[in-house]
């Protein structure tokens, strides 16, 4: 088969939301939820997308799925520009990309049976006869570790971990190629998280799935991803192979994130938070977005905007410390 370009390619994607005021909804500014992101994912691989709340990682996931149109930029899915496809063609592309949501309590309709929830995509896409659809639902329930005889039960009869399995089954029923996992573990207890992580990894191997794995939990992202992108306030500040990123974090923000994780070793010295307080308000610094919180910021950081630099093969960092010009100064 022709390998072709990357399976998913996002170039220059921006998503701005207007801030309006008063009766006539006069626009007084914009929130730059996603501000110029370029990413690629190869088929069958996992890209981890980490960042703290409000960094735009979920918005980016929604833009990729076409649930929100980008303000600027393109999303190429298997060589196809999502903005250019319409009607039946869009319908077909949509079948190939699915999402697993964060909260297994609010993302399942409490009035529908599990069979109907999982089979809804099959009905919408008109795949098979009703009997075949039911068979497919039973089959996929078995794949994700649910008992097929529970097909007529309702979501409230299941535990949190089982509900997340229902969400996964719904996403997989249509044989998708790309699955966006938007914080699929954060509502689950640790012992159940581990079960779901193993399930996601097994399914990826079995069906050659491509994952965009969105999470705020760096330990989970490291465990599951091939490559990792770190987002801060709408921008990707670092991108590298998972092992490389955790061994050699380049951006001060990534380092701060890694240092902030409490380690499972009481013999280590206690964490002292060295960085500065979080900023508040939607007004972003003009140049480096991390500068107000950065412990290593220099005067030039308030004058020059950093670009993503390749500091070693495949390892990109957006920080002036790696700028070849500034290092000579």
């Amino acid at each position: 088969m022709l390998q072709g370009p990357e399976f998913l390619r996002i170039s220059g994607v921006k998503k701005y939301y207007p801030i309006t005021e008063g009766l006539f909804r006069r626009e007084i500014g914009t929130v730059k939820a996603v501000d110029g992101v370029d990413l690629e994912i190869d088929r069958g691989k996992t890209l981890g997308l980490v960042g703290e709340s409000g960094c735009g990682k979920s918005t980016l996931g929604r833009v990729i799925l076409g649930l929100e149109p980008p303000t600027e930029g393109r999303v190429l899915f298997d060589g196809q520009d999502l903005a250019s496809v319409r009607g039946e063609e869009l319908h077909q592309v949509r079948r190939r990309m699915q999402i697993i949501f964060q909260d297994p309590y609010s993302s399942l309709n409490p009035r529908q049976t599990v069979g109907r929830i999982i089979g809804e995509g099959l009905v919408i896409h008109n795949i098979g006869t009703p009997v075949e659809q039911k068979e497919r639902v039973r089959q996929i329930m078995e794949v994700v570790g649910l008992r097929p005889e529970q097909i007529n039960r309702y979501p409230h009869e299941f535990s949190g971990g089982q509900r997340q399995r229902i969400g996964i089954a719904r996403a997989l029923a249509l044989h998708p190629e790309l699955v966006i996992c938007d914080e699929p573990l954060s509502a689950l207890d640790v012992s159940i998280q581990a079960q779901v992580i193993n399930l996601l990894k097994d399914l990826q191997q079995e069906f050659n799935l491509t994952y965009l794995f969105i999470s705020h939990d760096l330990s989970v992202v490291r465990h599951i991803s091939d490559r990792v992108a770190v987002m801060y306030l709408g921008q990707v500040v670092e991108l590298a192979e998972a092992v490389e990123l955790f061994r050699n974090p380049g951006h001060p923000y990534t380092r701060a994130l890694l240092e902030a994780i409490p380690l499972l070793d009481p013999n280590l010295p206690k964490k002292r938070w060295a960085g500065r307080m979080e900023t508040s308000g939607p007004v972003l610094p003009e140049f480096c977005i991390f500068q107000p919180r950065c412990a290593q910021s220099k005067p030039e950081c308030e004058k020059t905007a950093p670009e993503l630099q390749e500091i070693s093969p495949g390892h990109w960092v957006k920080c002036l410390a790696y700028n070849p010009l500034s290092s000579r100064v």
Binding site: E52, S53, S159, G160, G161, Q162, D189, V190, S191, I192, Q193, A194, Q195, I197, N198, K201, H216, L218, S219, V220, R222, H223, I224, V243, F246, R247, A256, L257, E259, A260, I261, P262, L263, L264, D265, P266, N267, L268, K270, K271, R272, W273, G275, M277, E278, S280
Partner: protein, 325 residues
């Protein structure tokens, strides 16, 4: 010598529901001395939060504290009149709740919410209270407190709100702070700031902390002594170093194996989750409550429930693997 600030003995808190009696906390005992941090760790529904609420006497109906003693400075909080409890709550024992979004009242200014507890317990004037509020906000690390004290909660970020909640909790210099998942709703960098703030306050004011969390990383960082809870029972109780170096109970071991490698290394091997789910409190199995999920269970585990005993020097565990007879 009895140096315990708080001593809980055989605490039983039950919820009397229509479907039956749920023993949310079943014979839990622990001690906290001055300046100590005791951690309680466990998954949702294990009874750790109900433990905290029982100490504060804030268990919502149909929950009742059905037995046991809660000795605070030698006084049994279970039996004292509500009036006396009110003078202790927020004053000598205070609580930090999980959700900084819902713990604050959205229609009052931050200033008034902090002043409320001072006016209630300290009998000072409004002007004195205002000065103290400013001072408290500075102590919890809020920049330009004289301006931010006029804010409403929605004008602050999650981390700032949690600082305000902490300011309310420490306003009267309590002897004991109960922190129920104080950083769960926060991002990791903010979590690190809040934990180091709590530790600073403990060292400067000498208060004890009862820290309740599901995160073993937070426990490793903060606690000195740890209780591991499962289905309302304490299954393991040990010093923090001992617990992480030598976890005895299969549940504790399972929890540690479930966490993706957090040490610096490339451990990307398959995780070993605990199979199955936590049983419902209304349908607990006979014998050991962990028997259905335990890789080591044998016939005795299905017949009799083990007691919490210390096989070796102070490290207590509720498991037949470590008990003779």
């Amino acid at each position: 010598m009895n140096s315990a600030l708080l001593e809980v003995k055989n605490l039983k808190t039950y919820f009397l529901t229509e479907a039956g009696i749920a023993c949310a906390v079943d014979s839990v005992s622990f001690k906290i001395s001055e300046r100590q941090v005791l951690g309680i760790v466990g998954e949702s529904g294990c009874g750790k939060s109900v433990c905290a609420l029982s100490v504060m006497r804030l268990v919502p109906p149909p929950g009742v504290t059905a037995g046991g003693e809660i000795l605070f400075r030698g006084e049994d909080l279970v039996s004292i009149p509500e009036k006396v409890m009110q003078s202790i709550r927020g004053n000598e024992i205070s609580m930090i709740f999980q959700e900084p979004m819902t713990a604050l009242n959205p229609v009052f200014r931050v200033e008034d919410q902090i002043a409320e507890v001072l006016l209630r317990h300290k009998g000072i004037s409004k002007n004195e209270a205002r000065d103290q509020v400013k001072d408290l906000l500075r102590r919890v690390g809020i920049p330009s407190p004289e301006i931010r004290m006029r804010d409403y909660p929605h004008q602050m970020s999650g981390g700032m709100r949690q600082r305000v909640v902490i300011a309310i909790a420490v306003a009267c210099n309590p002897r004991l702070i109960i922190a129920d998942e104080p950083t769960t709703a926060l991002d990791v960098t903010i979590q690190a700031q809040i934990l180091s703030l709590l530790d600073d306050l403990r060292q400067t004011h000498g208060m004890a902390i009862l820290l309740i969390t599901h995160d073993l990383g937070v426990i490793a960082e903060m606690a000195e002594d740890v209780l591991v809870m499962y289905t309302g029972r304490v299954v393991e109780h040990a010093g923090v170093k001992e617990l992480f170096e030598n976890p005895l109970h299969p549940y504790t071991q399972g929890l540690m194996h479930s966490i993706p490698g957090r040490s610096i290394g490339e451990d990307r091997s398959r995780l070993e989750p605990i199979p199955g789910v936590v049983p419902s409190l209304l349908a607990l199995p006979p014998g050991c409550k962990f028997n259905t999920r335990c890789p080591w269970s044998f016939d005795r585990c299905f017949r009799e429930e083990p007691e919490l005993l210390a096989p070796a020097g102070g490290h207590m565990v509720r498991c037949w693997l470590y008990q003779e007879g």
